[in-house]
């Protein structure tokens, strides 16, 4: 079975035809066992985001990854850009915060 990370990459690739796609497993930053695939950061640069507000872009990503988000993935940091915004942003997305313990109370 493909890893959660590779499924996320494949789904985003086919849904958004991104110019840039970064999927980073940040699970090690949280209170989960080594090798977990629970916390991810995705950076998607796509023409399809043009003219869409952030909330609509993120909802489109959540919809694409609904299966993962309802299943194994506990946290998803999303950074979306059009190619123009990406170059204005000096081709870098912000870093994710460290955990503050809330995940420990989670069932999954």
């Amino acid at each position: 079975m493909a890893s959660v990370q590779s499924r996320i990459e494949a789904k985003l690739q086919s849904a958004f035809a991104p110019a840039v796609l970064q999927v980073v497993n940040e699970s090690h930053m949280h209170s989960v066992p080594p090798g977990s695939e629970t916390h991810f950061k995705v950076v998607v640069v796509s023409d399809l985001f043009a003219g869409k507000r952030s909330v609509a872009r993120h909802q489109a990503i959540y919809q694409t990854l609904a299966e993962e988000v309802q299943g194994p993935v506990h946290a998803l940091a999303i950074h979306t850009y059009t190619p123009e915004e990406w170059s204005l942003n000096q081709e870098a997305a912000p870093a994710s915060p460290t955990c503050r313990g809330g995940s420990k109370a989670d069932a999954h």
Binding site: A75, I78, C99, R100, G101, G102
Partner: protein, 105 residues
């Protein structure tokens, strides 16, 4: 009142409301901490719900919002977004006018 009615009542009676893990004084998630920090820097009062203490809201709100995670910022009955969007808006200088306008309304 059903959980969905409670949620609808909360977002309609509070112009600015943050659904988060923990409280503004003691956030229990890095993403909630960032969101609340950005919101507090605006300097206007806002409502919050600690979803760790309200499992029913935690279960229902994502379906209603079409947004699976927390925190969630709602302004004047509309979902603005989660922590990434809140931070992005704060950096662009868009958060303060939005909150000030809503809080003053």
């Amino acid at each position: 009142m059903s959980t969905l009615d409670v949620i609808k009542d909360q977002i309609s009676s509070n112009n600015v409301i943050l659904y988060m893990k923990g409280s503004p004084q003691f956030p229990q998630c890095g993403f909630s901490a960032r969101a609340v920090e950005a919101l507090m820097s605006v300097g206007k009062p806002f409502a919050y719900v600690n979803i760790l203490e309200h499992p029913d809201i935690r279960a229902e709100l994502p379906k209603f919002a079409n947004w699976p995670t927390f925190p969630q910022l709602w302004v004047k009955g509309e979902l603005v977004g989660g922590s990434d969007i809140i931070l992005e808006m704060a950096q662009k200088g868009e958060l303060k006018p939005l909150i000030e306008e809503a809080a003053g309304a």
